[in-house]
Amino acid sequence: MFRILHQDLSAKDLTDLVASTKAGAISLFIGVTRDHQQGREVEYLEYEAFVPMAEKMLEQIAQEAKNKWKLEKVAIHHRIGPVAVGKESVIIAVSSAHRKEAIEACHFLIDRLKEKVPIWKKEYFSNGEAQWLVNFPRQ
């Protein structure tokens, strides 16, 4: 349910993982790599993770969401390694009896993931430069 993977991610796989006869809603968040960053053209991205800790943290933030909302199931897959522009880098799937909980939990989970989970992204620009990104720069 909580995996760091080297290959293409599949929204269908994630949807199947959270399917439940008790669920009236499945909400998905799909993070996709962008072709520009502050006006510069991005060629591709490379993700790195502290894999065992990242998988553990994904499970932990899912538990936080389950403590806040009444949910059926949560699954999160994040890709690492090189990721071409326009490809999925992360997919979050949440099922719940009613839509509101699944939608709100999905929003919460992508925010928590970006804040807490030990995953890093490096952008490679078309001019040959590269830089590590920071989600929440210190003030």
Partner: protein
């Protein structure tokens, strides 16, 4: 006392390695560890100081002592998603 250090992302690049083991004699806090490494690797001091720590895959405050034989990951600011 001995601890295994793990480096990732910008820090791994700056140090040219993904980790090392560290022997130390007196008790060391997380902050103390970052300072010790900044002295050892002055060219990477800024990157080291920007890190948070995880001991045995749990985030721990920098004021907390490094536990004997812990696996200590230096976590640069994350950018997943």
């Amino acid at each position: 006392m001995k601890t295994q250090l793990l480096y990732f992302a910008a820090l791994k690049e700056a140090l040219g390695k993904s980790g090392e083991s560290l022997d130390y004699s007196s008790p060391l806090t997380g902050q103390g560890l970052l300072e010790l490494l900044s002295l050892r690797y002055p060219q990477a001091a800024e990157t080291i100081q920007a890190c948070t720590l995880a001991q045995n895959m749990e985030y721990t405050p920098l004021g907390e002592e490094i536990r004997p034989n812990a696996e200590v990951a230096l976590i640069p600011p994350v950018s997943g998603g």
